[in-house]
């Protein structure tokens, strides 16, 4: 035990190994009730794939059903808004499935009302070119990940007041040979959560993948942050998918107004 300057009591880690043998024994004696609770939690945390319109679950793994050459994943509301308005408005995208999941950190279990910017995963594929989208590894596939992060997470030696946020940084796997459309993410910055998991998976399975990370100072849906993704439109992974840019800007503005959250805390 140790006390700090502010009066909080902090338990100091013990380097001599585990202290109390008695505590361990107590934990091992798991009752049937504990096991039942654990089983229920595990069932709740299962990832379910289903079709939103018919609400039937997809038994066949999406992976085998839709092999593809390009997989684009957008994480976070700004990245999703960018993809919805710039990429998905050109051509007809058909929704092929939806992934529903829950864990203890989810704030809502409502899966019925989903907007394009909600935190669930919806899979789309391009009707005219079904080879775009999918998630089958080990085929000729290129993965693009788009996400946002707050600029205060960005570690740099230069003064943070000289940073022009929002700005784009890229991180790619070894097999990705094309030049990225922005500068690479420097050390000691690291990528967290789902984008990191996707990139690690791609690196292990030697899939060419690139992550475009937008550092912004506005984490909620914002026109300028979404605009910062525009250089990605010129990359080979998205080329040919984007046709109508002025219309995209209109769709984006509409998304903004429908999703504006009124908050009176900040003036």
């Amino acid at each position: 035990m140790a006390a700090t300057f502010f009066g909080e009591v902090v338990k100091a880690p013990c380097r001599a190994g585990t202290e109390d043998q008695e505590e361990e024994e107590d934990e091992r004696r798991e009752t049937a009730e504990d096991r039942e609770v654990r089983r229920q939690l595990a069932r709740k945390r299962e990832v379910r794939l289903f079709r939103r319109q018919t609400k039937t679950s997809l038994e066949v793994s999406l992976l085998e059903k839709y092999p593809c050459s390009k997989f684009i994943i957008a994480i976070g509301n700004n990245a999703v808004a960018f993809l919805s308005s710039f990429v998905m408005n050109s051509g007809v995208w058909e929704e092929v499935g939806c992934a529903k999941l829950w864990n203890e950190w989810c704030r809502t279990t409502d899966t019925v009302h989903l907007s394009p910017t909600d935190a669930f995963c919806v899979f789309y594929h391009l009707k005219s070119n079904p080879s775009v989208f999918g998630s089958c590894p080990r085929r000729n596939m290129q993965v693009t990940v788009l996400t946002c992060r707050h600029v205060t997470d960005y570690k740099t030696a230069e003064s943070t007041s000289s940073l022009h946020s929002p700005f784009l940084k890229a991180l790619k796997t070894e097999n990705f040979k094309e030049p990225p459309c922005c500068s690479l993410l420097e050390q000691p910055n690291i990528v967290h959560d789902l984008p990191a998991a996707v990139l690690s998976y791609c690196q292990v399975w030697k899939i060419p993948a690139i992550l475009y990370l937008c550092y912004t100072d506005v984490m909620k849906l914002d026109l300028i942050t979404v605009g910062a993704f525009k250089p990605v439109l010129s990359s080979r992974s998205l080329k040919g998918l984007v046709k109508n840019i002025p219309q995209s800007t209109e769709i984006l503005k509409k998304l903004m107004t429908t999703n504006e959250i009124q908050s009176n805390i900040y003036t």
Partner: protein, 256 residues
């Protein structure tokens, strides 16, 4: 390293940062954008209005506040806060009381610099007290002094204040400030109308839905404060768009 020295306001980090104050500056960026411009005979304050909820009474969502009106309405001090709304209300109340107290004691209205210094000192006190947190607000304070010279001051959560010719606070303040640095010229503020247009143009750089979400207030020398109505702002915006089109036509003529 930051996490060990950022829990208490009264603790410096080894490299000299007061992290709570710096985090308070992040709170300021959560508000919408505001811009202040000091012209030769006019001061302009413009702010991006966030859309009000349907059932909310719009009158109670005022961003630009008067701190003091002199008896004959010749001088006034206007202010605009960005950051935590509740903090702004508290500071505005204290500042208004101070304006009246000053007038009663010294029989002269406050100068813009005096009231700015008062607000800044108040903010600084809260960065040096145990058990309190800094005010999460930045302010733009404009007005005319006795000598008829227009003034624009900006304060931030650390309690510093500076005089500016033109400045922006809130979200995307940097983008607006860069625009102002490029476009604030002697010509641009030569007459009052130009100064007003410069403020609106600066805001339109970052405002997401055009002129209808802009609130504007001006004080001209020896005249009372004027809040622009939505229609007047629309007129200005229309003029600005016309000027932009003409400038683009000229540019394309030059290149062909």
């Amino acid at each position: 390293m930051a996490s060990r020295y950022d829990r208490a306001i009264t603790v410096f980090s080894p490299d000299g940062h007061l992290f709570q104050v710096e985090y308070a500056q992040e709170a300021v960026k959560k508000g919408s954008t505001a811009v202040g411009i000091r012209g030769t005979d006019i001061v302009v304050l413009g702010v991006e209005k966030k859309s009000v909820a349907k059932l909310q009474d719009e009158r109670t969502v005022r961003k630009i506040c008067a701190l003091d009106d002199h008896v004959c309405m010749a001088f006034a001090v206007l202010t605009l806060f960005k950051g935590l709304t509740a903090d702004a209300r508290v500071v505005i109340n204290r500042a208004r009381v101070e304006c009246q107290s000053h007038k009663l004691t010294v029989e002269d209205p406050v100068t813009v610099e005096y009231i700015t210094r008062f607000i800044a000192t108040l903010k600084q006190k809260y960065t040096q007290s145990n058990g309190r947190r800094p005010f999460g607000i930045s302010a733009l304070i404009v007005g005319f002094d006795d000598d008829g010279i227009p003034r624009l001051y900006q304060t931030d959560p650390s309690g510093t204040y500076h005089a500016w010719k033109a400045n922006a606070i809130g979200r995307s303040a940097k983008t607006v400030r860069e625009f102002l640095e490029k476009n604030y010229t002697e010509d641009a503020i030569a007459n009052d109308n130009e100064a007003i247009k410069l403020a609106i143009r600066a805001l339109l750089e970052v405002v997401q839905s055009g002129g209808k979400n802009v609130e504007l207030a001006i004080i001209r020398r020896n005249q009372p404060l004027k809040m622009f109505s939505a229609k007047e702002i629309e007129l200005q915006v229309a003029e600005i768009e016309k000027e932009k089109e003409e400038a683009e036509k000229k540019k394309s003529k030059k290149t062909t």
